[in-house]
């Protein structure tokens, strides 16, 4: 009995469950579009207030439409199913709307302020009513780079070493340290500012200066970098490490020659996430560094402006031009955050790309 064993190519119609009748397709299409169209028409004609009519006119219509279609296609149980879809999409789209609103306003208002001069000049000659042709965020950008840079230089080794402690040693305090790091991550940012202020400035040890701001940012950055770094180290398969140890390597060589290279992209991600965490922090810096108009490259002496404190300062002034400057600073800050965001994504996809190889 000869039976043909060979595989057959998959036919076009190999998913019978996706075949929905034309009637059902039409109903679903109508249910998604008709309420919206009717609502928009009513909106234009009657000039309703948008938000309240959205809730009172559109939402009920759409709910009823989806429930009816669900009833028709799936029977009684389709009603709740339809409602679930409506609720999820309606509420979820709010998030989308908010995001677009924030991003769009920053881009639109910030772009109007942006100019080459705005980026590199400082505000020494700027009064609250000076036009936008003079002055800029140059000093604030440098300030951010310096203050955040110092924090990073101090925090990253500390956090990485802590992550090593948590993953490589059998120390008895590991649970305690993890709990404390968790506690630290819940620290309100204004409280870390107060801490540095009370410890260093109030006690007279120093006055407002950039480096105190850097210190205030450390408790905010440390838990993030440490947590992500710990995860990255954990993800390195135990077999790799055990292989090295089995060959007689010391703990340090196993770590430096096997674990560390394997976890490299994860550690880079940890650092980038840490920087992104603190680059927008305002409150701690307001309590420790004071604002300055001029460019100050000295972290040890004198007030220094950073992008977030610059933004805060100009919003507080309240004039139209000051608000515009604030938007400009917001856009620059957002661009910096964007770069970090993209870099972090690239770093973590490098990790998965390497795994695939």
């Amino acid at each position: 009995m000869a039976v043909d064993l060979t595989p057959v190519e998959r036919p076009k119609s190999a998913a019978p469950w996706t075949k929905i009748s034309a009637q059902s397709k039409t109903l679903m299409f109508l249910a998604s579009t008709v309420p919206a169209v009717i609502y928009l028409a009513l909106l234009v004609v009657n000039n309703f207030d948008f938000m309240s009519s959205l809730l009172v006119v559109f939402l009920p219509m759409q709910t009823v439409a989806s429930a009816l279609v669900g009833l028709k296609i799936y029977g009684r149980r389709g009603i709740l199913d339809g409602l679930l879809v409506v609720a999820t999409l309606f509420l979820g789209s709010f998030v989308f709307v908010l995001l677009v609103s924030v991003l769009w306003s920053v881009v639109q208002a910030g772009f109007a302020t942006l100019s080459p001069q705005f980026i590199y000049q400082n505000d020494v000659y700027v009064t609250p009513t000076t036009g936008l042709e003079i002055g800029g965020v140059g000093h604030a950008i440098l300030g951010t780079l310096l203050v955040v840079g110092l924090s990073t230089i101090i925090t990253v080794p500390l956090a990485l070493a802590t992550a090593v402690y948590l993953t490589e040693t059998r120390g008895k305090s590991r649970g305690l340290i993890r709990t404390l790091l968790q506690a630290m991550s819940g620290l309100p940012s204004v409280v870390t500012g107060l801490f540095i202020y009370s410890m260093l400035i109030l006690s007279g040890f120093t006055s407002y200066a950039g480096w105190t701001g850097s210190l205030a940012l450390i408790p905010l950055m440390l838990p993030t970098v440490s947590r992500v770094a710990e995860e990255a180290l954990r993800l390195v398969p135990a077999e790799l490490r055990n292989g090295a140890l089995g060959l007689g390597a010391s703990a340090w060589s196993a770590f430096s020659m096997v674990t560390l290279p394997a976890a490299k992209s994860g550690l880079v991600t940890a650092v980038l996430l840490g920087v992104a965490r603190i680059i927008g922090e305002t409150a701690p810096l307001l309590l420790t560094t004071s604002l300055a108009n001029k460019t100050n490259l000295n972290l040890v002496e004198g007030g220094i402006s950073t992008l977030p404190t610059y933004l805060y300062g100009y919003v507080s002034l309240g004039y139209d031009t000051s608000i515009q400057r604030a938007w400009g600073a917001a856009l620059v800050l957002l661009m910096l955050v964007g770069i970090l965001f993209v870099a972090a994504r690239v770093a973590s996809s490098t990790k998965s790309a390497k795994k695939r190889k």
């Binding site: 999409l89 509420l91 709010f94 305090s173 819940g186 620290l187 801490f195 009370s198 917001a330 955050v337």
Partner: protein, 325 residues
């Protein structure tokens, strides 16, 4: 033939010991760094409490925490954070109430509803929202959202003003707890959404298969299997977001009218409110010596509360999922 003894030799102490100098240095540095964490936390608590103590001593814990009025006159200062403390919680609660439905919906959409590419894009957008610094959201809140929020507040007042919640006798709907709460919601939606997403994705697929095999459809599976299983973790995520909302400083400062003398209990569209973190910010610049101590005391109270909430959050997440292996 030797006897087989029943005696078990005593347990050896197995310790990971540094075998060489490089290893000793390696472990030494790691341990030192880790212990510096302990030192840091202790230092924070110590220094804050030290400077805050005079205030607690002078006014008493209860009076300071629950009383009202902030008066920094030099002869007879009087500081109390009651309205601020309550206000922080009110705004955080508003933020959570507004954020949770949005966050869970979008998490459900990403994990269970959307086709893969759309889900990935949506997840990216949520992460993008999380990355926006809160000071930028504060600026948006002040310039763009406040008029809209005031308008909504007015409408709520017109429609439901008979409810005490929407009372307003000031004829001005700007700088209200409602607006502050909404802005806080924008900040915490990504936090809750991320945690919820992670919990959804960790639900054992076998449970969902079991539900479908029993004749469950999308909605009944969500309501009776997915949500109950995820509930504990979601509550934990919400508490974490609550902690974050309590600590929010600048954005609330931009959009809220701080009133120190009396508590605004529930009139959320009235332009009177409080928030401890914003209190600190607003009074800091020109604070008298006594006042500085009081501000530090306020910071200690805030820290204590966020610590408490974060601990409860971790506890709940663990407790609510006893089946987690």
């Amino acid at each position: 033939m030797s006897e087989l003894t029943e005696v078990v030799p005593p347990k050896r102490k197995l310790k990971v010991k540094a075998s060489s100098t490089p290893d000793r240095i390696f472990y030494g540095i790691a341990t030192a760094a880790a212990y510096s964490t302990i030192i840091l936390v202790i230092a924070i608590m110590f220094f804050l409490s030290l400077r805050a103590w005079p205030t607690f001593e002078k006014f008493g814990f209860v009076n300071f925490i629950f009383g009202s009025g902030w008066d920094n006159t030099l002869e007879s200062p009087s500081f109390a954070i009651g309205p601020m403390l309550y206000g922080s919680f009110l705004i955080a609660a508003l933020g959570v109430i507004l954020a949770v439905p949005m966050a869970i919906s979008i998490a459900y959409f990403i994990e269970f509803m959307a086709p893969k590419p759309l889900a990935k894009t949506t997840a990216l957008l949520v992460d993008l929202l999380a990355a926006i610094p809160s000071v930028v959201i504060g600026l948006w809140g002040l310039s763009i959202f406040s008029p809209v929020g005031a308008h909504w507040g007015e409408m709520l007042h017109d429609a439901f003003g008979f409810l005490p919640m929407f009372e307003n006798d000031a004829d001005n709907f700007l700088r209200t707890p409602f607006i502050a709460g909404f802005i806080v919601a924008v900040m915490i939606v990504p936090i809750i959404a991320s945690i919820t997403r992670e919990i959804f994705s960790q639900i054992d697929q076998d449970l969902i298969k079991a539900s479908l095999a029993l004749g469950g459809n999308r909605e009944s599976t969500f309501r009776k299997v997915i949500l109950p299983t995820a509930a504990g973790g979601i509550v934990g995520g919400v508490l974490l977001a609550l902690g974050r909302a309590l600590g929010e400083t600048v954005a609330i400062f931009f959009v809220l009218n701080l009133v120190f003398d009396e508590v605004n209990w529930f009139r959320i569209v009235l332009p009177e409110g409080g928030a401890i973190a914003s209190l600190i910010l607003s009074k800091f610049a020109e604070a008298t010596a006594d006042e500085v101590s009081a501000l530090l005391a306020a910071g200690v109270v805030l820290f204590a509360f966020t610590l408490l909430i974060n601990s409860i959050a971790s506890f709940i997440v663990v407790k609510a999922q006893p089946w987690r292996k």
